[in-house]
């Protein structure tokens, strides 16, 4: 009984992330790849993303505050970050990356600074939300029975 309730909560949480644009269809695609042999695939990928991206964000921050801005370098870093974000379905983060890249192309330093704050914020927000989500999902039990199935 309790498990079912948790599963419903997990599903509801996921739905709300999708509705509010934190995540997109790509996240669902990743969940479809989970099975009994790889029950924590999505959590593993997401953990990897947040570890990798913390580093990238640090590099970007460094590039922004140290000396004359190299827009090409920034754009490069952000392209990588946008790619990873897109791969895990992190929609809001990805959208902020796009905005940042536009400012890079325009050579607009102030725009870059402002948008970077947004990027970090969305990144941190998503991290917290997904940590909670995976905690709940683990409590709810094996993914096999909580995935949407066509019956």
């Amino acid at each position: 009984m309790d498990r079912n309730h948790l599963k419903r909560q997990v599903d509801f949480m996921k739905r709300s992330f999708l509705d509010q644009g934190y995540l997109d269809e790509q996240f669902i695609q990743l969940e479809e790849l989970q099975d009994d042999d790889n029950p924590n695939f999505v959590e593993e990928i997401v953990t990897l993303f947040f570890n990798d991206s913390a580093r990238l964000l640090q590099n970007i921050e460094q590039a922004l505050v140290s000396g004359p801005i190299d827009f090409a370098k920034l754009d490069n870093y952000m392209h990588q970050f946008k790619g990873s974000s897109s791969s895990i379905g992190a929609k809001r983060v990805k959208d902020e990356c796009t905005r940042f890249k536009e400012y890079c192309t325009a050579g607009n330093a102030e725009g870059c600074f402002r948008t970077f704050v947004q990027v970090k914020q969305e990144h941190a927000t998503l991290r917290t939300k997904l940590e909670t989500y995976f905690q709940l999902a683990r409590q709810a039990g094996p993914p096999g029975t909580s995935r949407g199935q066509v019956r």
Binding site: Q29, L33, D36, I45, L48, D52, G83, S87, Q149
Partner: protein
């Protein structure tokens, strides 16, 4: 009819048109090479292929892709990222074709500006990242037809 590992013969795979029994060779016959510098994409593409029963190997850049072929290995399908350090996907594709490699090479990228150059280098197909099972299945359709 393809079954997923849990025995669910259904739903997901047939919804992406994988239901046709003449579509794919028995899964164990198809081999693939993933060429991508990004660890997350490596994991996702590896898992996508595993999930479809396709034995696959992962390398980190174009040069490693060349090296693995020079060591005598061959693959039915190569998933080639474009932007990679050491040697990018365009150069790697050119070299593989120059070496006489006839494998299906599918470019997987987000860089739409370079798409034409990438195709000209010798791609058989091109898909926008992120790769999904349905995009992979559409690539595999071509592997079977040309094989």
């Amino acid at each position: 009819m393809l079954k997923s590992k849990t025995g669910m013969e259904d739903g997901f795979l047939s919804s992406v048109g994988a239901g046709d029994s003449t579509m794919l060779e028995p899964p164990t016959k198809i081999t693939a090479l993933v060429v991508d510098d990004d660890t997350i994409n490596q994991m996702i593409h590896h898992r996508l292929l595993d999930n479809l029963g396709i034995r696959n190997q992962v390398v980190r850049n174009g040069k490693e892709a060349i090296d693995v072929h020079c060591s005598g290995k061959n693959f039915d399908l190569i998933l080639m990222d474009m932007e990679m350090p050491v040697m990018n996907g365009i150069e790697a594709t050119r070299q593989l074709r120059a070496m006489g490699i006839r494998s299906m090479i599918a470019g997987v990228s987000t860089n739409t500006r370079e798409r034409e150059n990438f195709m000209k280098a010798g791609l058989d197909d091109y898909q926008e990242k992120p790769l999904t099972t349905s995009k992979l299945v559409s690539i595999l359709h071509k592997v079977h037809k040309d094989g």
